[in-house]
């Protein structure tokens, strides 16, 4: 997959208290091929506080409309500036970057559990769509602090069943994702996970105990995003590996987490 630097136009926006959905369109050329789990490096502006690009997962790609969707949680200067962009803003992105989630063989219909916590649900929409299209059975287990975090549910619903948890009980089962009863039922063939590290560690531990295949997506701080600077490394069984190039998706067996 060839990486490209491309200018997109902000054509649609949706805001929630903590997050924003940005739909970016390519007016001149088709979007490059990209796979679920890959990410883009977004140029925010040229203010001193946002000197480097911001890495954001591919939330969804609509090839026909040439649209790239980003789901962004407002945490600091860069992500807040993105949420404030007026429609029609020109947005410069570098993508597709990183190593995607591993899809099962199309010939074998597999049960896939997609576990997302907080803004970690972002990459799971495009993943769910691809799995659904290939005839697999994705099920989404999405968790947040409160109902405010559980966004884009009508989109997720198109591709698979939803299981929800919130820490305050304002939606779904009260507690962390690992408290959801779906994990006590029949085991999935694969688990795909993205979210805050403690949550991913908990899911990885569950997968390890049950001997299940599991991939997680890491969010190490990055500078270049293309494997040139070695700033984003994760300590793996093979030594330091770039999260931007050999990740962000890793099989839990590659990581040195205490699970």
């Amino acid at each position: 997959m060839t990486k490209r630097i491309i200018d997109l136009r902000l054509v649609e926006k949706r805001e929630w208290p903590q997050a924003v959905l940005l739909k970016l369109r390519s007016d001149v050329e088709p979007l490059p091929e990209a796979a679920p789990g890959q990410f883009v490096q977004v140029r925010v502006d040229q203010s001193p506080a946002t000197y480097l690009r911001r890495p954001i997962s591919i939330h969804f790609i609509d090839r026909e409309r040439r649209e790239l969707w980003l789901l962004v949680r407002k945490v600091g200067a860069g992500t807040r500036a993105m949420a404030d962009w007026p429609l029609q803003t020109r947005v410069n992105v570098v993508f597709p970057l990183g190593h995607p989630y591993t899809l099962p063989k199309a010939s074998k219909k597999e049960r896939c559990l997609l576990v997302g916590g907080g803004i970690g649900l972002a990459p799971l929409l495009y993943l769910g769509k691809m799995l659904h299209e290939q005839g697999h059975h994705p099920m989404f287990l999405l968790g947040g602090r409160s109902a405010d975090d559980l966004i884009q549910l009508n989109e997720f619903e198109q591709y698979g069943e939803l299981c929800l948890t919130t820490e305050d009980g304002s939606a779904g089962i009260k507690g962390l994702v690992t408290a959801h009863p779906v994990l006590q039922g029949p085991s999935p063939d694969r688990i795909y996970c993205c979210g805050p590290k403690p949550m991913m560690v908990a899911v990885a531990r569950y997968a390890r105990q049950k001997g299940l295949w599991c991939e997680v997506s890491l969010e190490n701080t990055m500078a270049c995003g293309i494997g040139a600077c070695l700033c984003c490394v994760e300590d793996t069984v093979e030594g330091h590996r770039c999260v931007c190039q050999e990740g962000p998706v890793f099989n839990i067996n590659q990581l040195k987490w205490q699970i």
């Binding site: 990486k3 490209r4 000197y51 500078a223």
Partner: protein
């Protein structure tokens, strides 16, 4: 125009964005005699108009370079320079000897200025005796172009540059990163695993420019300027201050095609100002 060591990988990271033959050359990552895993994560902290890094010379060692990377980079239609680092004089010498044997590497850049490794590196680059000992020893065994990369973490950069020249350097490049630090006040913790790290990017440009100007006045060998360059205008400022060539580092992270844009921009500038040879800009600052 060259791309700066540690910011351009081995070049292949950028081939989707630019044609390497449009560049004067690339300087590959810091290479050491033995493999190095580098420092622990976190290794990067963004700062106003810049960044701190503490990569710590992660690389697979010179033998790996010779066996696995050289065959690929020697095919590039551009000059490939190797940045050589070490913790002892013997390491530098052994590493330089191995690279001398590679036909397609016309020069090495001796990194005596990395702030991110415990022993060696910068220690050599911060005193005239230190730099003379490494440069002198490498000069004895290395017969191609020897570029020496200077540390800005010194009181008098001109003295260090003169010591490098006297010890046999063919050119000097400057600046490497400035030693800096970043703290997360909420967590009361440093943002880098190593506490301190190397500052680079737009914010270091005024310091770099001043040092290039001082060094260019002090030595006769060519000076290669770098530090915060992200546009043709930036590059031209370095030439005017006395640089014969420039390198682009951190800016490659923000725009992976910036190096080629700078080359084109310098050409445009020369056309606009009716300048025939870029070299006539070197040191052309009017005071």
């Amino acid at each position: 125009m060259l791309t700066a060591s540690g910011t351009f990988g081995y070049g292949r990271e950028y081939t989707d964005f630019i044609d390497l033959s449009d560049l004067g050359g690339i300087i590959v990552k810091g290479t050491t005699l033995h493999p190095r895993e580098g420092n622990a994560y976190p290794r990067m902290a963004e700062t106003p108009s810049g960044m701190l890094n503490a990569v710590g010379l992660q690389n697979k060692g010179v033998d790996y370079f010779v066996e696995h990377i050289y065959p690929e980079v020697s095919q590039y239609d551009t000059r490939v320079l190797v940045n050589v680092s070490g913790s002892t004089v013997d390491d530098y010498v052994a590493c330089a000897e191995k690279i001398q044997a590679l036909d397609k590497i016309p020069a090495i850049e001796l990194n005596v200025s990395c702030p991110n490794v415990k022993q060696g590196g910068m220690a050599f680059g911060v005193s005239c005796e230190g730099i003379a000992s490494v440069v002198g020893a490498v000069r004895k065994v290395y017969h191609k172009h020897l570029m020496v990369k200077l540390s800005p973490n010194v009181t008098s950069i001109a003295d260090i540059a003169m010591a490098a020249e006297a010890a046999g350097a063919d050119s000097v490049s400057l600046i490497n990163t400035l030693l800096g630090m970043s703290i997360d006040a909420e967590k009361r913790r440093p943002r880098l695993s190593t506490v301190t790290g190397g500052l680079s990017g737009a914010c270091v440009k005024p310091v770099a420019l001043r040092m290039v100007w001082q060094v260019a006045k002090a030595v006769k060998i060519p000076v290669i300027g770098l530090g915060g360059i992200s546009s043709a205008t930036d590059a031209i400022e370095f030439l005017l201050a006395g640089a014969s060539a420039v390198q682009i580092g951190t800016a490659n992270f923000i725009d992976p095609a910036v190096s080629v844009k700078v080359v084109r921009g310098i050409e445009d500038y020369c056309e606009r100002h009716h300048i025939e040879a870029v070299s006539s800009l070197t040191g052309a600052l009017e005071i």
